[in-house]
């Protein structure tokens, strides 16, 4: 554990566990050194992708008349995303067309978050290099997709609300343009900060055990409680990401001004 040559530092302990590295610590096994092109969080992303492929291509039985078991569970989620998230924000045809994207977001983020709760794996969504591409996809849809749907003039007109005197327009148009960037940025930071903060709290509490020994037993109980709360946060953050991206894309696709 710690000795005079390597004194225990709490901040190093926390940072080492939540940040990306090239080593994978498995229990009761020697440390696995990852090659330079594959970092720990990238390995988590690959594991989650393989898991999702197995879940949806192998375990999901497409040919049953009546879905049962895992098939039923997956269909419930997908139907919820299509009917409660995509179609109300985007309308009938766009909602159904973009539902695969939102399902991908939801199951990918949920899978990565849940993998991070298991002590052997690491949380890849606590890395801003993982949430940034997700937000960039939403940004590409909000701008490029809206331009393709409404035309360039329609896209520019979306920033100009109707029936507004022109001095107020001078204020509103930059704010709306800035709003697109801020919404994407907030989407990225919300998921990243929620996951990172949850894990930092848990590791801070567990690091107290090394510092104080058996007197830190209440800290372990608190860490268990916060881990349970974090399962709720995991589901909520995945749902919120998909819900907000649907709302933002819907705002750009159908400007209601």
């Amino acid at each position: 554990m710690s000795d005079s040559a390597h004194p225990f530092q709490l901040d190093q302990y926390i940072l080492h566990h939540v940040m990306d590295s090239h080593e994978w610590h498995l229990p009761f096994m020697p440390v696995i050194h990852l090659p330079s092109f594959l970092s720990l969080h990238a390995l988590m992303v690959i594991i989650c992708a393989v898991m999702l492929l197995v879940l949806f291509c192998v375990i999901y039985r497409k040919n049953d008349r009546v879905p049962t078991g895992v098939t039923n569970l997956l269909e419930t989620f997908v139907q919820f995303i299509r009917d409660e998230i995509a179609v109300p924000s985007l309308g009938e045809e766009d909602g159904v067309k973009l539902t695969p994207l939102f399902c991908t977001f939801f199951f990918f983020i949920l899978g990565l978050n849940l993998l991070g709760q298991i002590p052997v794996f690491a949380t890849a969504t606590a890395n801003i290099g993982v949430t940034a591409p997700l937000a960039l996809i939403v940004f590409a849809l909000m701008t490029g997709g809206a331009i393709r749907k409404n035309g360039l003039m329609g896209f520019v007109k979306a920033f100009v609300p109707s029936g507004v005197p022109w001095p107020v327009l001078l204020l509103i148009i930059p704010l709306e343009i800035l709003g697109v960037f801020i919404k994407t940025f907030a989407l990225m930071v919300r998921l990243f900060a929620n996951m990172l903060a949850g894990h930092m709290v848990i590791f801070a509490l567990l690091g107290l055990v090394v510092l104080f020994g058996v007197w830190a037993l209440p800290a372990v109980i608190l860490a268990v409680g916060i881990s349970l709360l974090e399962v709720l946060v995991v589901f909520l953050q995945a749902y919120i990401f998909v819900l907000l991206s649907a709302v933002f894309i819907g705002q750009m696709y159908h400007p209601e001004h």
Partner: protein, 78 residues
């Protein structure tokens, strides 16, 4: 009279900033959920729509608070 010296004044103020962002998040989300509860109490059949709007509002407010937390953390590092 001697001027008072506080060691690491910058860090103390960043800590206060951290606490303020938590206060903002708590008050904001509390107001939103209170309004949602009022709405559901008045019209229980609209509970689904009200819940959806509550989640969207809470996520936006929490996003601002988390943004502030991230910036405070960065300020603490440098």
């Amino acid at each position: 009279m001697q001027p008072i010296e506080i060691a690491h004044l910058g860090r103390v103020l960043v800590g206060i900033g951290f606490g303020l962002c938590a206060v903002g998040a708590g008050i904001g989300v509390g107001q939103i959920v209170a309004a949602a509860l009022n709405g559901i109490a008045r019209q229980p059949e609209q509970a689904g729509k009200i819940q959806t709007v509550m989640f969207i509002g809470a996520a936006l407010v929490e996003g601002v608070a988390l943004l502030c937390a991230v910036f405070c953390f960065l300020a603490l590092q440098s």
